[in-house]
């Protein structure tokens, strides 16, 4: 075949006008080439993306367009293989280097178009510039990693802070003369540890939810370790379903359990050495029930008698905070304190139903 002068569209095999129109108007940068890699047409999007004058393209070899940057050896050999039918380029990544410009990362796709005429094998080369997309993905990865590191830092600081508070309370308890004051400081220490237990669980939980079974078990182990001398005599039994709740809810529930267990240990077994405290929690949909029961001395008689477990007012306040109903009853033997929440309850006149 004789050499065809540049700048003239090859007339030996005229392309269908519709084909050229489709190529030129393609949204994605697209090149329409002959088997020997002469560019027949380039999409406007290609010319714009890669800053090549559209008039200089048709009839030029791929390696000659622009400033010759498209003469990438790898691209050339892949297109050759595509033309011969022995390969098809699918999402091949390649770097485009242009003088005094940063390299661009490209993803190229090539197809061989064959309508049966061996003289008319054509190639379609689609080029996508993914440089910015890749940079954004790397940035996102960096941010995710930085966030993970930051979270670990925060977790460490919180653990240290809680340690300081817990230790200071214990130190004060050791020094204080009055038994009553020491009791208060020990209680305060337990409350801090119950919050610390939530913190620990959150640091390892995936969805930011606290699994109540693990939490209450740890909480009771901690309370038992400091308050029960002989676990054969006094025991804490935890029965919880698979419920997992938000941190705030778990903190409130944990504080209620701490309060009720401490009070049971102080008041329920005054005239007996053996006893059992049971902590139960279960939920169905938006309804949940928490109960702390003991098999000790039971409720004191008379209306004026102080109600065990509720003396400090903390439990009432927390139950209210959780939109729960607090009930106190005889377990015969012993006492049971229940906080129950029914999702359908409308406790407030204003506001929509739950």
């Amino acid at each position: 075949m004789r050499a065809i002068p540049v700048k003239k569209v090859p007339t030996a095999h005229p392309e269908a006008a519709s084909t050229l129109a489709v190529v030129v108007s393609s949204n994605e940068p697209l090149l329409f080439l002959t088997e020997d890699q002469t560019v027949i047409a380039a999409s406007s999007s290609f010319c714009q993306a890669f800053e090549i004058d559209p008039a200089t393209i048709p009839g030029r070899r791929l390696r000659d367009i622009g400033s010759g940057e498209w003469g990438l050896p790898k691209l050339t050999s892949l297109l050759k293989a595509t033309a011969s039918g022995s390969a098809q380029i699918d999402a091949y990544e390649i770097d485009l280097e242009r003088p005094s410009q940063a390299a661009r990362r490209l993803v190229v796709n090539a197809r061989r178009l064959d309508d049966g005429d061996k003289q008319r094998v054509r190639l379609l080369l689609a080029v996508t510039d993914v440089t910015d997309m890749r940079a954004e993905a790397r940035l996102k990865d960096d941010l995710v990693r930085d966030k993970a590191i930051l979270m670990q830092e925060v977790q460490h600081r919180v653990a240290n802070s809680l340690q300081i508070i817990a230790s200071v309370l214990m130190q004060s308890a050791r020094r204080v003369q009055s038994e009553e004051a020491r009791g208060h400081l020990h209680n305060a220490h337990h409350r801090v540890m119950s919050i610390a237990a939530v913190q620990k669980q959150l640091s390892t939980s995936k969805a930011g939810k606290v699994e109540l079974r693990t939490y209450f078990t740890q909480l009771c182990e901690s309370l038992g370790a400091s308050m029960i001398a002989d676990t054969d005599q006094l025991s804490l039994a935890v029965t919880v379903d698979d419920s997992a709740v938000d941190a705030d809810v778990s903190i409130s529930l944990g504080l209620i359990v701490t309060e009720l267990v401490i009070n049971a240990l102080k008041h329920a077994f005054t005239d007996q050495s053996k006893g059992r405290i049971a902590i139960d929690y279960s939920s169905t949909g938006k309804d949940w029930t928490l109960s702390v029961s003991d098999n000790g001395v039971g409720l004191p008689t008379g209306d004026d008698a102080p109600k065990p477990g509720l003396g400090t007012g903390i439990v009432e306040a927390l139950a209210r905070n959780l939109d729960g109903t607090l009930t106190l009853s005889d377990a015969n033997p012993g006492t049971v304190v229940t906080v129950s929440h029914r999702g359908a309850q409308q406790r407030h006149a204003s506001g929509p139903a739950a």
Binding site: Q163, I164, A166, S167, K200, T204
Partner: protein, 125 residues
């Protein structure tokens, strides 16, 4: 042991936490020594031979963290017992020298005192 009392070396960079740990150890009836980092701890261990147990934090400034320090101490002074504490919720006890205990912060004072008691009584002949 020093004059009949067990000697515990506390390694912790946070002053308040270190003071509380000293208080914890003393209230349990032991002698407390303090170091702010691994280098100080090693210096103290080199200068006396009566230290029975080292109670160390993990995150510390300096050449070594608590985990590396615990391995170093096991290498050089095998009889010294080790307790490691950290802000991490979980640490593989397998990454610590054999027989050492790990507690996550905030630790329960009673639990630490109990652990010290048990570890020290193990080598009472």
């Amino acid at each position: 042991m020093f004059k009949g009392e067990a000697v515990i070396l506390i390694v912790e960079d946070n002053t308040i936490i270190r003071m509380s740990a000293v208080d914890l150890v003393q209230s349990a009836g032991y002698l407390a020594l303090e170091a702010r980092c691994a280098d100080e701890a090693i210096y103290i261990l080199e200068s006396r031979d009566d230290i029975d147990l080292v109670f160390t934090d993990v995150q510390m400034p300096g050449t070594m963290d608590g985990i590396k320090l615990s391995h170093y101490i096991r290498e050089r002074w095998p009889p010294v017992k080790l307790i490691v504490a950290s802000g991490k919720a979980i640490l593989e006890e397998s990454s610590l020298p054999q027989g050492s205990r790990y507690f996550s912060k905030p630790y329960n004072d009673h639990a630490i005192a109990d652990a010290i008691g048990r570890m020290l009584s193990k080598d009472a002949c």
